[in-house]
Amino acid sequence: MNFRDLPGMPVARQSTESMMTGEWRTIRPVLNKDLCDRCYHCWAFCPDVSVIVEEEGSFPKVDLNHCKGCGICSVECSKQAITMVREDL
């Protein structure tokens, strides 16, 4: 990008979706569907908008491109269905 490409005002409007914050992660959430009762606490408390619920009733999925691996979902899961697993294992 050179100076000519800048807008006349410093307006930012490109979605952060292109930022691959999943790279920050050292542990990742793994869901045990046998235990999950789809309470969606994992979805509600995710700071990174990285738990995806496609429609009501479906199992939550993790957007690994963006999930930073904080592990809040694993603690807030009402059925302890999420475990955090080391990325390199």
């Binding site: 930012a12 409007r13 979605s15 979706e17 969606y40 990174d48 957007d63 963006h66 592990g71 009402s78």
Partner: protein
Amino acid sequence: MTEFQFPLPKEEYMHPGHSACPGCGEPISMRMLLKALGPDTIMNVPAGCCAVIPGVWPAYSLKIPLVDHAFECTGAVSSGIRAALDHFGKDDVTVVGWAGDGGTADIGLQSLSGAVDRGTDMLYVMYDNEAYMNTGNQCSSATPCGANTTTTPGGKSHQRTKKDVMKMMIANGIVYGASLNPAFPEDFMEKVVTAKGIEGPKFLHILSPCPSGWKFDPRNTIKIARLATETGVFPLYEYRNGETIFTKDLKNRKPLEEYLRLQGRFKHLSQADVEGMQRVLDESIQKLLKEE
């Protein structure tokens, strides 16, 4: 724990990929707040974590307009945005000033007071991570007694009580005030929706645990937030028409120690210190219950 099915509106007003630290409490509350307010919202933010989290230019994480400005002027900028919207007949747009505890309780207090005094129709949010976190955990006037920060090293020297901005704002003339905790989403959402429906200056105090500053495992953000209310450290209440109503039970409280021991910022406290703090907390809650 509150049982709820699909507890929040599904619509997202935040993109993934923002710059918050893993486990940060701020984007959880921001996400909930926007779900409650909907798209007809314009927000303004000062310096602080809230200026960094939405992303590095040209990337931007929210799906509402956001206006950046300097540290001490959140209230004033909200007033200006509101005035312009009113002038153009856009009174259906909610104006949100979203600032941290330093930007509110310290450097931004004058501007907030001015905006409340002017009767600006705005939702002012103090997301409270109890220190200057964006500069690396320096003590603010919202830092609790005894907490370790880089400017209260060791923590023991910090014996001031947390500044009660809500009381100041009530005296200043807000039409609605509430404390909000993202660990209680239904209560959180209800209060935001209530506030949105009232015209005038509203002040929301949101507890925002900070894993790096409070020194806890990021996975415990919501757990700690919940304990803050369950122990009585962060009572949940609503202020309206001169009355304060507690929205979560304050009578059956968990021991303060459960909350403190999860956080490295309090690890230097002796058992006697903790007991002393429990006594102070109990006394203050007795007082609160009498006021209700």
